[in-house]
């Protein structure tokens, strides 16, 4: 937990410094991806690994874009609008998937994300179809600061979970769902709450993305990449602490942008594939878990 606040502090501090536009843009991207990874991680606390977080990212992006460009709302209002829309979408998605366990839940979220992508591609009057939306209004403040704010908010959620019985409940559901239910833990409502909260943050991240790049198309906003990146980043960093996803996002994204893309523009995504295979095979607890073990402390949540 402390590591999380440290990272947050660094991020906020860094975000305030006078950077060049290119670096600021880089910082915004890494922070909003970190926020996305952290949102994915919230759901993973309950033992459900989503393979379709792009659904919430994309809905948040499109909702905010539409509210700002066609709905006449200022971007300050559109951003939370994106988050709320994504949270609303999480309700039917949850109804269709939360009763499934393990890999079946993952597959259901994957299917949901793809369905939303197809919807966005074909509902041309609303979403601009395959060509998407352009000329979106820019962010009203430094994107990196807004993203950092989102990260701070997620850390507050973790504080709440730690102080109340709900963090324990999520951990119990992850470890032995049926036993937890038998002890009185309301697993379904709790997992739904986790999904909705996770979706809200993912939607906010998407909304930031929309106004940062100022154009959207379904193939990108709902792409598999935004489903698989948060998963890889969170697993790579470690899921035992909220700092894990943040760390994973930072390391992987910077490696990608600064070292790989300039040299291997075609296959830079190999980094992510390699990272996930590495983690699953040699460091199942992620970077932080691995470091904690080396440091001698028990690597438990």
């Amino acid at each position: 937990m402390r590591a999380g606040w440290v990272l947050f502090g660094c991020a906020a501090a860094v975000a305030l410094l006078p950077w060049s536009p290119y670096h600021l843009s880089l910082l915004t991207m890494v922070l909003l991806l970190a926020l996305l990874a952290a949102s994915w991680h919230l759901l993973a606390l309950g033992g459900q690994l989503s393979f379709g977080h792009a659904a919430f990212f994309g809905v948040g992006a499109y909702a905010s874009a539409l509210l700002a460009s066609r709905g006449g709302l200022g971007v300050w209002a559109a951003l939370p609008g994106g988050a709320i829309s994504a949270a609303a979408v999480a309700l039917p998605v949850g109804a269709l998937s939360l009763h499934l366990r393990g890999p079946y839940f993952s597959l259901a979220t994957f299917a949901a994300a793809e369905i939303l992508r197809v919807l966005a591609t074909n509902w041309t009057p609303l979403t601009g179809g395959a060509w998407g939306l352009v000329g979106l209004p820019p962010l009203p403040a430094r994107g990196s600061l807004l993203a950092a704010g989102g990260i701070g908010a997620i850390l507050l959620v973790h504080v709440f979970l730690g102080q109340s019985r709900w963090g324990l409940a999520l951990a119990a559901i992850r470890q032995q769902q049926e036993r937890a239910e038998g002890l009185g833990v309301p697993s379904r409502p709790l997992l739904l709450a986790a999904l909705v909260t996770s979706a809200a943050f993912a939607g906010f991240s998407g909304a930031l993305y929309a106004h940062h790049v100022r154009s959207l198309e379904p193939a990108t906003a709902f792409s598999l990449l935004f489903s698989i990146l948060p998963l890889i980043m969170a697993l790579f960093g470690g899921t035992a602490s909220p700092a894990g996803p943040l760390l994973g996002a930072g390391i992987l994204y910077f490696l990608d942008e600064l070292f790989l893309q300039p040299r291997f523009p075609a296959a830079h995504q190999l980094l992510y594939a390699g990272a996930i295979l590495l983690v699953l095979l040699t460091m199942p607890e992620g970077l932080l878990g691995f470091a904690r073990r080396r440091g001698g402390r028990r690597g438990a949540p």
């Binding site: 102080q163 109340s164 019985r165 324990l168 409940a169 951990a171 119990a172 470890q175 032995q176 049926e178 036993r179 937890a180 239910e181 038998g182 002890l183 009185g184 833990v185 309301p186 697993s187 379904r188 438990a300 949540p301």
Partner: protein, 241 residues
């Protein structure tokens, strides 16, 4: 009025009839033993009462309310606790945290602040004699200690009815003694128990009444002295004489 009423409960699994029109009642403060050979439907019965499985037909009423078909956590909140046949603890949590879960979420209709729940958890651990192991990770316990932990987890929720599925199975005589001590103490405090166990002697000593099941049906019901000598019960356990 009985605390628990089971009325014409049946359960079929894809062609296998696990329970056939089972019906009985349990009064408050009573200890009811449930015996029967393997596959007679005892665990299925417990699973249905606790809400982990839906019945094919029939109803379960607890304290006057029909609880059939409700999710397991609601049934737990109403006041029914259980310990499973094969102990299931939360491997990444300490013993205290395992019990804390029961205390924080058990049969409380009003929310319990974490501090108070923690006190209840410690008290439950003391009741079963595991207070010294509070900080130990749950998987590091012996089988006997794990079974006691299970009981503590269920007790921490202050249930009115406790379903115990083979609480002493696989234990050494010393461990069995420890478990029986705890159960006797709970009986003194007026907790209603439904107890599945193979040991006819242990069940006869604890229970005031015994239910005998075979192939999903009740074949005998009554005081231990009668049931253990009942011809159908003997036949089910020992085969044709």
């Amino acid at each position: 009025m009985a605390l628990l009423e089971v009325h014409r409960l049946s359960k079929a699994f894809r062609g296998l009839q696990a329970l056939r029109e089972v019906g009985f009642a349990v009064a408050e403060g009573e200890i009811l033993g449930v015996i029967g050979p393997n596959g007679s439907g005892k665990s299925t019965l417990f699973n249905i009462i606790a809400g982990a499985l839906p019945p094919t037909s029939g109803t379960v009423t607890f304290a006057g309310e029909v609880i059939t078909g409700r999710p397991p956590w609601e049934i737990s909140r109403c006041g029914i606790g259980r310990t499973p046949q094969i102990p299931v603890v939360f491997p990444e949590l300490s013993c205290l945290e395992n019990v804390l879960l029961g205390a924080a979420f058990g049969c409380r209709r009003r929310r319990l602040p974490v501090a108070l729940a923690r006190q209840e958890a410690v008290a439950a651990l003391e009741t079963v004699g595991l207070a010294g192991l509070a900080a130990r990770p749950a998987p590091h316990l012996s089988l006997g200690q794990t079974k006691l932990l299970e009981i503590a987890m269920a007790l921490a929720a202050s249930p009115r009815l406790l379903l115990l599925d083979e609480p002493a199975a696989g234990l050494s005589p010393a461990a069995v003694k420890a478990v029986l001590e705890v159960l006797r103490a709970q009986r003194e405090r007026g907790l209603t128990l439904l107890l599945i166990d193979h040991r006819l002697r242990a069940v006869s000593e604890l229970a005031s009444r015994i239910l005998a099941l075979d192939q999903g049906e009740i074949i005998a019901e009554g005081p231990p002295v009668e049931v253990t000598r009942h011809p159908r019960v003997l036949k089910a356990y020992l085969g044709e004489a």
